[in-house]
């Protein structure tokens, strides 16, 4: 039986996974920022695959960028880049951000 449920239950694309979640986006006030850089450190670069929400990507200049909309506020990026200080991390304002329906 191949149904739409089967497709959504087994999907490798992180965008499709995030589609099920609830967020209250604080438009124009990202709670995490990548500090301006020329060349990303190995730690910063690793965020393009360690971030569980796939928030980090490379731009065409090879710099790391973040879009916080799908963020889980888990803290992985802050922990990974603690030594290099390339990520400015905070919680969203109270009430904003991810809203787990089940957790």
């Amino acid at each position: 039986m191949t149904s739409t449920a089967e497709i959504s239950a087994f999907s490798t694309k992180v965008e499709e996974k995030l589609y099920q979640n609830r967020y209250l986006v604080d438009a124009g006030r990202p709670h995490i920022k990548v500090r301006p850089h020329e060349v990303p450190s190995k730690a910063l670069l690793s965020l393009t695959y360690t971030c569980p929400a796939g928030c980090y990507s490379l731009n065409d200049k090879g710099q790391v960028e973040i879009t916080v909309d799908g963020c889980f506020e888990c803290g992985t990026c802050r922990v990974v880049t603690a030594k290099t200080g390339e990520v400015e991390w905070d919680y969203p304002r109270g009430g904003y951000g991810v809203l787990f329906k089940f957790g």
Partner: protein
């Protein structure tokens, strides 16, 4: 924001903060609890298993109205390679008791229920409010908190930090250092919905009986970590977690790892035709005893994940959270009754009381385990492969005599790890375990 002064401010409305707030309010203290989420539980993620014993000590009749999913009658521990698993299962009708020992729960629902109990006990809860820092007097004693609301300073005799694994307030107030990538795990999880009768037939369950699967092996792609699958009433929680530094070095995405785990031939049929309704991620403090930060000081106490109270070996955390929260609350009540100051010297009573419980005793017992697992990746790759290959050799009837099969299995272990390697691993594990 609030002019009045409180006996205690509790930061966070998870299991530890709720336990602390509830304990203090029940004994007549004036308690304010601050939660950054829209509702308690909206920022929290857990497998999740509820340990009755820790909650019973707070709310003995919790079973009357708590949103419990299934009581666990069967535990499966799986060692997996890419196509197989070797399992140890324990199932007992004794777990079908009047007051079951462990339940699966859905955290967002459970946390709302727990929070209602806390408010009924008299705690003032304010949600959608993020605590930014601790306020101190000229002697450095913590006297309250500053929040992200305008004019957000609030005063209290003591601040109990149940702020969760990231512990940002404590970090920024200089109470503790940043988490280390080697001692914290990143776990990802999905909620898969199925009709309850489908779950019951797939797992051989009746009524509210439940099954828990904890898995390790090649599913973590050489990283230190485990996978899990828990049955709820009408859903299955499935997830996998590995140490953060391993993820950073390995290059595997957490969602890719979860997808591979879900597609393992032993897991996939259990999830067939389900509908995924949420994908979540959270950090788990897994540094154990050696990672525990300062737990108290002048006017402050740390409880739950913020204090690294997780027993990674036994996958226990919420019970440690509730127990540390309860004991912190009891300590504050006791000091207040004696009219003692909530100073560092007096709050040391919290640590003394914790030392006498399973919380500190278990963490101390396993204090060498995190380093052992981190430094011995063969536990997660080589050994699961060897064990599964051995099982296949043993059970496959192919004309080879049994003595030859025995020799083949022993040879595979010696070849895979060498005899000194095998003995060394056994010795190291025994030393870390004791």
């Amino acid at each position: 924001m609030i002019e009045e002064r409180f006996d205690a401010i509790v930061v966070g409305a998870g299991p530890s903060g709720n336990a602390a707030a509830y304990t203090m309010a029940k004994q007549g203290l004036k308690v304010l609890q601050l939660e950054r989420g829209e509702y308690p539980g909206s920022k929290n993620v857990q497998g999740a298993i509820l340990y009755a014993n820790a909650l019973e000590k707070l709310i003995p009749d919790f079973r009357d109205d708590a949103p419990l999913e299934r009581h666990i009658i069967e535990q499966r521990l799986w060692t997996m390679d890419d196509t197989s698993y070797v399992g140890m299962h324990y199932r007992s009708d004794d777990f079908n008791e009047e007051r079951p020992n462990r339940y699966t729960i859905i955290r967002a629902q459970f946390d709302k229920w727990f929070s209602r109990k806390v408010r009924e006990a008299g705690v003032t809860l304010i949600c959608e409010t993020t605590v930014k820092e601790l306020l101190r007097d000229s002697h450095g004693k913590v006297i309250g908190v500053k929040t992200d609301r305008s004019g957000g300073a609030i005063l209290a005799d003591v601040v109990i930090l149940g702020e969760g694994v990231n512990g940002i307030v404590g970090q920024r107030s200089g109470l503790r250092a940043e988490l280390k990538p080697e001692s914290v795990a990143l776990a990802v999880k999905e909620m898969h919905f199925l009709p309850r009768e489908v779950i019951e037939s797939r797992f051989n369950l009746k009524g509210n009986e439940g099954v828990v699967i904890e898995a390790m092996g090649t599913i973590t792609a050489g990283m230190t970590g485990t996978g899990f699958l828990y049955t709820n009433q009408e859903s299955i929680s499935v997830g996998i977690g590995c140490i953060v530094s391993d993820f950073a070095e390995n290059g595997t995405t957490p969602y890719g790892l979860l997808e591979s785990f879900k597609n393992h031939p032993s897991i996939k049929p259990l999830l067939a035709n389900s509908e995924c309704k949420e994908y979540a991620a959270h950090l788990i403090p897994e540094g154990g005893y050696n990672a525990i930060p300062e737990l108290f000081g002048d006017g402050w106490i740390v409880v739950g994940d913020a204090g690294q109270f997780v027993n990674a070996v036994h996958r226990e955390g919420s019970n440690l959270a509730m127990t540390t929260g309860r004991i912190a609350g009891e300590t504050v009540v006791w000091l207040k009754r004696r009219r003692d100051e909530l100073s560092k010297a007096n709050l040391a009573e919290y640590k003394r009381r914790l030392d006498a419980t399973f919380v500190m005793q278990d963490l101390k017992k396993y204090k060498k385990i995190p380093d052992f697992l981190h430094g011995n990746k063969q536990v997660f790759g080589l050994y699961p492969r060897l064990v599964n290959a051995a099982a296949q050799t043993w059970f496959r009837v192919d004309g080879a005599d049994k003595r030859t099969k025995e020799k083949e299995i022993l040879k595979s272990f010696r070849k895979g790890r060498t005899l000194p390697g095998l003995i060394g691993d056994a010795f190291k594990l025994a030393r870390a375990w004791r």
